[in-house]
């Protein structure tokens, strides 16, 4: 076909433009010329002009003035103009444009045209951009064409019907009889279209699915024909006869056999045959094998067939082609829950894939490895994972660290191993761990009382080597503060003792205090640790006193406050100092108490939604430190947990440090204070859907005020981010919502979210609450509402 000369000249002109500015000039001139030409009547060059406009559009320039021209061209009797007109319609018009309705009539006329190529243009355009109204209008036409004798038209009509069913589900019924009859076609194109159409119909309507189950034998026949038949030049691709059709049929079989024993039985033989006979040296063969494996694993296949399928996946894992390994791991991930042992057999290969160069393969290997960790292989797996962590790409670090922590928590063979592992992670990737790691680790250390000596020695050594990893430094400071006496004693059974003098220890802490690498929170930890040492060491108390008084004039308000308070402790309340700074008691681990209020670091896929969620929330004013200054003897700080929200963990560390123990009575040290009510409050589950559970528990604080704690967990398989709760109460009740502990819910209940709501009910009305839950899961947003008509635990207190 002769190329369009005007079009090519223009393309040449645009390409020879040397700068962006020049190009824009050329395009503006051309567009002006095109617009002028459009206004003129028919001049034989219309298709060239529209083609030029479409090129300009592809470069990214606006081309909406061409829409009406498209409409006119489509109505033209000339084939060349129709062709370009329809192309323009597909590129410039979509169902949101008003002009698209104008072409409905032209399409209708062209669908009944005598020339099949004109019909095909209309069908193609309808399938590409047909809106729901257009589909409704033209569905009967399409059904008629499905029964025409021309296979060229039939195959296009089938795909057009697929589009119609996608747009307007109810019209599916219309196409069922035609679809059924198309299965007996010989033409592969029509057959393919028919299979796609049936797949769409079955996916959308379970009733239709049941009816089409009867076609399983026919489909099996067709497949057998494809596999056994000899070489067919029309459809052969590297020795496989029409792989596209084979894969589609397998997919349809999967849908049909999914929950049906009888259907699955009918296809067992065929699947076994495909699995064994398909040549797997080329990608095509592997594509068919892959689809077969997916089908076998999804239907109710017999165990022999399943074993065959998993073996194929195992073979894929050893394939030198990265793509094959990638898809093998993706499929294994799907079945690791159900066929765990089968997948375990391939653990070695999977762990080797962690060392692959490719980022996609690494990601899959990481997910699969984390799923394969069990009590029996914990030590070796964690060793591999830690090795992986040291050379891990940054986008996978957060996932890797949190996965290691969860696995370690679940299957740790010993406390010492657990602590070692966490320390190792902190030294390697301390910047990417979640923020509750610090309190969790502290809690773990406190509970392993026999290991205090070992731990503090190890941490001290780590501190001397490197003070850049904030989480590690925070834990180290805390430990030194708590167990400094053990460190100074110098003897330790589990590790080589070091002779540490008091000056050394104070030097180390001072380095942390003065280093510009330390965040404000870390310096807070260090200062408190220094203070605690004043009761644990004997000689250098003056040095401590001087350090503390220096920071009394520090610019950082948080540090200044602490220093001033500690100074006061030295001066006026010296008699209380020993009691106040004594060793911390064992802390009850509050599972929902990730109450540091900091935003956790999200994995790549959740980052965007969480960032948006964080910006919306305003941090409530930090009133706790001021209040607690005066509550010297109120051991638990008397207030609810400091649920201040910090938008990004680095920008406002002041708030986090205050919650991390900024009160004078730093009894809880780096651990966030547990919520005030120590006695378990009665709780009730108010919402349970899609794996998300919300429980509510109340505690009467005073005559009219009530503390309601909302706890949310996610038991599903996918992570949830941007989780927010909003509450509404009757008019006379005052509501005050504290910031939630976190805004994401990792899968399988790995962490919980708590939010404290303070209610003040002076008129003592009947307390009801309406809670709106909104979150994002796998990129889509969910919203739900639940009404709580009676709050638990209010039975006898005079509130009905």
């Amino acid at each position: 076909m002769s190329p369009s000369v005007p079009l090519q000249e223009m393309i040449r002109a645009i390409r020879s433009a040397r700068t962006q500015c020049e190009e824009r000039g050329v395009i503006q001139r051309e567009c002006a010329a095109i617009r002028a030409q459009f206004r003129q009547s028919d001049n034989g060059g219309r298709s060239h002009n529209l083609a030029k406009l479409l090129y300009v559009h592809m470069l990214g320039y606006p081309a909406h003035f061409g829409q009406m021209e498209c409409v006119r061209m489509i109505a033209s009797p000339r084939y060349s103009e129709k062709r370009v007109g329809y192309l323009g319609a597909m590129m410039l018009l979509d169902e949101k444009q008003d002009a698209s309705l104008l072409i409905t009539n032209s399409i209708k006329n062209d669908l009944s045209h005598s020339n099949q190529y004109v019909q095909s243009l209309a069908l193609c355009t309808l399938a590409c951009m047909g809106s729901a109204e257009m589909c409704r209008d033209l569905a009967p036409e399409i059904d008629r064409l499905l029964q025409s004798s021309n296979s060229y038209i039939k195959k296009k009509a089938a795909l057009c019907a697929v589009h119609i069913v996608r747009k307007v589900q109810d019209l599916g019924e219309l196409f069922v009889p035609a679809a059924r009859s198309l299965l007996s076609e010989k033409n592969h194109g029509v057959l393919h279209g028919a299979v796609v159409l049936i797949t769409q119909l079955c996916e959308r309507n379970p009733e239709t699915l049941k009816r089409f189950r009867k076609t399983v034998p026919d489909l099996v026949q067709i497949m057998k024909g494809l596999i056994i038949s000899g070489y067919s030049p029309e459809h052969d691709v590297s020795g496989i006869s029409d792989p596209f059709l084979q894969v589609r049929i397998l997919r349809l079989l999967r849908i049909l056999g999914r929950n049906s024993e009888s259907a699955s039985d009918a296809m067992n033989d065929l699947l076994a045959q495909v699995a064994t006979n398909t040549d797997s040296t080329k990608t095509v063969g592997n594509a068919v094998l892959y689809e077969t494996v997916l089908t076998v694993l999804d239907i109710k296949s017999e165990s022999g067939l399943r074993v065959l399928a998993v073996n194929i996946l195992g073979r894929f894992l050893l394939n030198s082609d990265r793509n094959i390994r990638y898809i093998a791991m993706t499929s294994l991930q799907k079945i690791v829950g159900t066929d765990h042992n089968a997948v375990q057999r391939h653990r070695g290969t999977i762990v080797d894939c962690l060392k692959d160069q490719d980022a996609s393969v690494k990601r899959r290997a990481l997910e699969l490895s984390l799923a394969l960790v069990s009590a029996s292989n914990i030590r070796s797996m964690i060793k591999e994972l830690l090795l992986f962590l040291s050379s891990c790409p940054p986008e996978l670090k957060a996932q890797a660290t949190s996965g290691i922590f969860i696995a370690a928590e679940r299957y740790a063979p010993s406390k010492r191993w657990h602590i070692d592992t966490i320390l190792h992670v902190l030294t390697t990737a301390g910047g990417d761990v979640r923020d509750e790691t610090v309190p969790n680790l502290i809690h773990l250390i406190t509970n392993a009382s026999e290991l205090h000596c070992y731990t503090v020695h190890k941490l001290y050594r780590a501190l001397l080597t490197d003070i850049s990893q904030q989480s590690l430094v925070q834990v180290a400071c805390w430990c030194i503060g708590e167990y400094g006496d053990l460190l100074l004693k110098g003897e330790c059974q589990e590790t080589e003792p070091v002779q540490v003098s008091e000056d050394d220890v104070l030097d180390a802490l001072e380095t942390v205090l003065q280093s510009h690498m330390s965040s404000s929170a870390t310096r807070g930890f260090a200062l408190t640790a220094t203070m605690k040492l004043s009761t644990r060491i004997t000689d250098n108390v003056d040095r401590i006193r001087s350090i503390v008084s220096i920071y009394g004039s520090c610019i950082d308000v948080e540090l200044q406050q602490r220093a001033v308070e500690y100074n006061a402790l030295f001066k006026k309340y010296d008699h209380m100092r020993a009691a106040v700074l004594e060793r911390m008691p064992l802390i009850e681990k509050n599972n929902s108490g990730n109450t540091n209020g900091e935003a956790t670091r999200e994995t790549l896929t959740e980052t965007n939604s969480s960032k948006v969620a964080q910006e919306e929330r305003v941090p409530p004013p930090p009133q706790q430190p001021a209040k607690q200054t005066y509550d010297l003897l109120d051991l638990l700080g008397g207030a609810s947990e400091p649920l201040q929200q910090s938008p990004a963990a680095q920008t406002l560390p002041i708030i986090t440090s205050s919650s991390a123990g900024g009160d004078l009575l730093d009894l809880l040290g780096g651990l966030e204070p547990t919520p005030a009510p120590v006695t378990p409050a009665p709780s009730a589950t108010v919402y349970e859907k899609d794996g998300v559970t919300l429980t509510l528990s109340c505690e009467q604080q005073s005559d009219s005020s009530l503390a309601v704690t909302l706890t949310a967990t996610n038991a599903s398989q996918s992570d949830i981010s941007g989780f927010t709760l909003q509450a509404a109460v009757p008019k006379s009740v005052q509501l005050n919502m504290n910031a939630p502990s976190r805004d994401s819910l990792p899968a399988q209940g790995a962490a919980q979210l708590t939010q404290l709501v303070m209610l003040n009910n002076p008129n003592k009305v009947n307390l009801k609450m309406r809670i709106r839950i909104s979150y994002t899961r796998q990129g889509s947003a969910f919203q739900d509402m639940v009404q709580v008509d009676s709050l638990p635990g209010l039975g006898a207190a005079g509130h009905t």
């Binding site: 190329p3 369009s4 069908l123 296009k156 589009h163 194109g189 393919h192 160069q357 996609s360 990601r363």
Partner: protein, 158 residues
Amino acid sequence: MRFLLLFSRQGKLRLQKWFTPITEREKKKIIRDMTTLVLARQPRSCNFLQWKDLKIIYKRYASLYFCLAVENQENELLALEVIHRYVELLDKYFGNVCELDIIFNFEKAYFILDEFLMGGEIQETSKQMVNRCIEASDMLQEVRSTHIKSNNGLKSEF
């Protein structure tokens, strides 16, 4: 399939086909995202990516990147075959196709694509059939234009 994009090593778009209705702004954003993601990949890495809730399959042929986005339940290896098949069709039509052919004859590239894929699904699985249909349509275009000239502007009906 959701969309098919062809772009050069410099990130210039050569062909775009969208199988679902998307706003202009969204399209521009997606194009930007795709070009950044794909062009950043190492030479011998895996051809599959995960992006939002879609699987991205890309393959480089000489100076052009072919980028196809499919939904999660689709077969990635087959998508690679789809891309390959399209390249073969272009090759047969243009004879040893290169990027310039696609630049200067983009409308033909679209016509070929529209004979091979439709509504996000494969339309015809036989190479020969597709080629025959394209040739026939081209013939029709030729015949029609000469026919019009000989009729001196009288509108002819098919």
